[in-house]
Symmetry: C2
Subunit: 147 residues, 2 copies
């Protein structure tokens, strides 16, 4: 669905498109860094994370003892997001909502660790793998706002 | 603080720097799109938002009836994030934690609406202004991971 959104108060002109789930999944394959939101006992967390998607499931790689590592014991309500925007005021974002839990199956861990997308940007030894299983996915694209 | 983070399991090499609050504030001035995380009665939300910083306070502009507009009635625990990363595996992120509430003071609304950074990417008429007052700020920069 694409709609024009012109703002008479600012003169801005833009096109806003809602992305299909297929488009969201395709965009999840184009980047390796996202951010995950969840509440722990310290409150609202929002943390960047290196990730890969395998068979429709999002895998994050982290280090034991990190804030992210808390998710290994399971969390019923997380949101994972990716986004892109450029100086031409064009951009897109995808947000996945779902549950998170640590991966204990050794075969899955090996497949995930072998995935080149999960080479962590932040470096370091990060052997802990968190699985985010999507319950919903939404995204949108904004373009043409050059007024 | 800068640390080397080399991962013997992947061969990745990188430098991870913790950003000072001053650096975080400077980076908040370099972009106009972030994302805000908060919990509402539907659970964890993670929503992109156009923003500007004035006098150390983050102002988001949204439309009445949007998910973001719920914050107008006040929220004690939100996290607002910005990030940048490129194909050279270099990037940074800043996360601000704090409280959110709608702005009712007309003079402040006019200043915020007049700020060129708050010209919304998604267009449309968005007269509702949400103030995020930071209680803490953290960020990091990752660079040189080209192995």
């Amino acid at each position: 669905m694409t709609t024009r959104n012109d703002d008479p108060t600012t003169g801005s002109l833009s096109t806003l498109s809602t992305l299909s789930e297929k488009e969201c999944r395709e965009l999840l394959g184009t980047t390796t860094v996202g951010h995950i939101a969840f509440v722990d006992r310290d409150g609202q967390q929002l943390i960047p994370a290196n990730f890969a998607v395998l068979d429709g499931v999002i895998y994050l790689r982290t280090a034991p003892g990190s804030i992210l590592s808390q998710l290994a014991s399971g969390h019923p309500d997380v949101a994972f997001g990716i986004n892109h925007h450029d100086v031409f005021r064009t951009g897109w974002n995808v947000t996945v909502r779902g549950t998170a839990v640590g991966v204990e199956d050794r075969a899955t861990i090996n497949v995930v660790l072998g995935h080149k997308r999960l080479r962590p940007w932040a470096g370091g030894v990060r052997p802990l793998i968190i699985r985010v299983t999507p319950s919903s996915m939404a995204g949108r694209r904004v373009s043409g706002n050059t007024a």
